[in-house]
């Protein structure tokens, strides 16, 4: 394992940092760092109409829209690979009023999606953004089709959504979107540059953004690596640099509960320095402590892995999750993520160690899970012929579990969950084996907070309340859309819709 993929994000001192520290103090006085001030006479190493920081959904869709309007576009990415969290994402995309829903007779509307998201967000959501996003999902979906993205022929029911509205890429990954969009953007002439890290946003004396300082040839996570270069953004800068779930130091400062006892599902580059650059440029922080824990992760693998697409797409909707000490359910397995994660996190012994709950489902309920095969193969899930065998394997209270299963089966048949109010979208009981089970735990998954933007994706200045000229942001680095709990499959919606808007507006001065 190479050192540049460590998940901890202490600001690593580079191998050469001691030498550079000596040179640096002298260099500062002879003007290397004074290049950060953006006087009109300063030299740019390169110039583009639109510069985009980050190559996920938000950055790539912004790039396409800006390029379509004739702008020259550069996308920078600090990591070796392109795509950030978007590339490793599960490919689940909530679309309000999709043709697939229509075909299956599912009635949906923009209002209903907004309502669901508001409920999960506990009213913290910035509603005007939410509306734009829900309304934009249909068009963002068409946009992805235009560039060759393919979806499965099924509409999934995700937790917290009042109806099935989640589509999923055929390869079950966000890469099924970022790869074709990235190819299209390249074909259109967008320039993508990896290992290039944003160091600072440059502004003129009026506060308008003029360009950025980057470190080219950057070797993540060696903060000081790479050559400093100045890149001009003539028309607009789009910050699409994602969330900070892998940044243990910063996330713990926002929420002390998010310390390194918790793993993250995110790529290692999900750190906070892009956000810091935005705040330094005057941006308004919004709800930075609203950090989401994914309730469907497994302690038996690293990162996102195989568990989420098994629990979220099989065991939770069509089975149950129980406390192994009692064999009893403890939450609506299809509630919003915050409700479920808070409930899961309470399962600790006296010493504070996790007592992992177990979730399971009968074979009949596994049809929508794309990852069960791999989950079984790598020991993340296990197969059992009987409930008794399952109870024995995981050390679950046997009598408690058998009684719980009987109660649950009765609820399913009656069509009403009298314990936790779960909606049964399909009548699948736990009567007939085989059964599939896995251990559940939470992992740090999504940053609902970020910088404030308006519906044109302009970044709002904290002191003036006005847009910072030529500065745009979209995707997970922005805050307020999802409030206290993002619903599953709504991040793709957010990133694609606002990414497109950011790209369009960032290119506006070009026309």
């Amino acid at each position: 394992m190479k050192k540049d993929r460590s998940r901890t994000n202490a600001p690593a001192l580079s191998r050469r940092s001691l030498l550079i520290a000596a040179a640096g103090s002298a260099a500062a006085s002879i003007g290397v760092l004074s290049g950060f001030a953006a006087g009109p006479g300063d030299r740019w190493d390169e110039e583009y109409d639109v510069v985009i920081v980050g190559s996920g959904f938000a950055g790539t869709s912004a790039a396409i829209e800006a390029r379509k309007r004739g702008a020259s576009v550069l996308v920078i990415e600090k990591m070796a690979v392109f795509g950030g969290n978007s590339a490793i994402n599960g490919g689940a995309f909530a679309v309000a009023g999709s043709p697939l829903q229509a075909r299956q007779g599912i009635k949906d509307s923009v209002e209903q999606m907004v309502e669901d998201m508001l409920k999960a967000g506990r009213g913290l959501n910035h509603v005007e953004l939410l509306r734009v996003i829900a309304e934009g999902t249909r068009w963002a979906y068409e946009f992805t089709l235009e560039y060759g993205v393919q979806y499965k022929d099924v509409v999934l029911q995700f937790g917290g959504h009042s109806i099935p509205r989640t589509l999923q890429t055929t390869n079950n990954s966000g890469g099924g979107i970022t790869v074709p969009l990235g190819k299209a953007a390249r074909n259109m002439g967008v320039i993508f540059r990896n290992r290039t890290k944003l160091e600072q946003i440059l502004q003129d004396s009026s506060g308008a953004v003029t360009g950025i300082v980057v470190r080219e040839g950057h070797r993540f996570p060696d903060e000081d690596s790479g050559r400093l270069r100045r890149i001009r953004a003539r028309s607009g800068l789009v910050m699409a640099c994602g969330g900070f779930s892998s940044d243990v130091r910063f996330r713990t400062r926002q929420d002390p509960g998010m310390d390194n006892s918790l793993q993250s599902t995110n790529h290692a580059g999900a750190t906070s320095e892009g956000l810091a650059a935005l705040l330094r440029a005057g941006a308004t922080p919004v709800q930075l402590d609203q950090i989401q824990l994914g309730p469907w992760a497994s302690p038996d693998e690293k990162g996102f892995g195989m568990s989420p697409q098994f629990l979220q797409q099989a065991a939770f909707p069509y089975g149950i999750m129980v406390d192994i000490r009692t064999g009893k359910r403890f939450v609506n397995e299809m509630a919003d993520r915050k409700t479920r994660s808070d409930a899961i996190l309470k399962h600790k012994d006296e010493a504070g160690n996790p007592v992992y709950p177990v979730a399971f489902v009968a074979e009949e309920g596994t049809g929508e899970s794309p990852s069960l095969g791999n989950a079984l193969k790598y020991g993340v899930a296990h197969k059992f012929d009987t409930i008794e065998a399952l109870a024995q394997f995981y050390g679950i209270n046997r009598e408690g579990l058998l009684a719980q299963v009987d109660r649950y089966n009765a609820f399913v048949k009656a069509g009403e969950d009298r314990e936790f109010g779960k909606t049964f979208f399909k009548k699948i009981t736990l009567e007939k084996g085989p059964f599939y089970a896995g251990r559940a735990w939470v992992k740090v998954h999504h940053c609902m907070g970020g910088v404030q933007i308006n519906t044109k994706a302009q970044v709002i200045h904290m002191a003036t309340g006005e847009p910072i000229p030529r500065l745009f942001a979209s995707g997970e680095v922005t805050g307020g859309v999802h409030g206290a709990s993002r619903l599953g499959s709504c991040a793709i919606a957010d990133c694609l819709v606002m990414g497109r808007i950011a790209g369009e507006n960032a290119a506006a001065r070009k026309a």
Binding site: M1, K2, R5, R7, R16, L19, I20, A22, A23, S25, A26, S29, M79, A80, V81, F82, G83, A87, I88, G91, N171, N172, S173, G174, G175, G176, V179, G182, K183, N194, R195, G217, R219, T265, H267, A268, E301, K302, G303, F304, G305, M306, Y378, G379, V380
Partner: protein
């Protein structure tokens, strides 16, 4: 700080930096992988991959000069379970040096989330 001191410091820094680059370069020459000894003339021809004189990470094009197109590389590993050169996440676009390290230890980025094992 007096002027001489600044120059002295700069000189020391420059020498130290130069030395560390040279030292790194020589360490790296010694560490070329066996199957690359031939093409790199026993590790003395840095330019064959790096082009530049500064020690920079080569672009994919440098690898593909010999290995053919990325698609060809993907075909060659098509039988590997979870083909790393044509994954759901990166298709045929994963940067070669994200996983392959000529002078250090290689490691698949897949391992950040998955339990797959690759021989590299």
């Amino acid at each position: 700080m007096r002027k001489q001191n600044i120059w002295a410091l700069l000189l020391i820094a420059a020498l130290a930096l130069g030395f560390s680059f040279a030292q790194e370069a020589s360490q790296r020459q010694a560490a070329v992988k066996e199957h690359h000894l031939g093409v790199s003339q026993n590790g003395t021809n840095c330019g064959i991959c790096h082009a530049a004189s500064a020690p920079e990470i080569p672009p994919d094009a440098a690898c593909l000069k010999c290995h053919g197109s990325y698609e060809k590389v993907a075909q060659r590993t098509a039988a590997v379970e979870h083909n790393p050169h044509d994954s759901p996440h990166y298709g045929t676009t994963a940067t070669c040096t994200a996983c392959h390290s000529e002078h250090g230890t290689s490691g698949a980025i897949c391992s950040d989330c998955h339990l797959f094992k690759y021989e590299m």
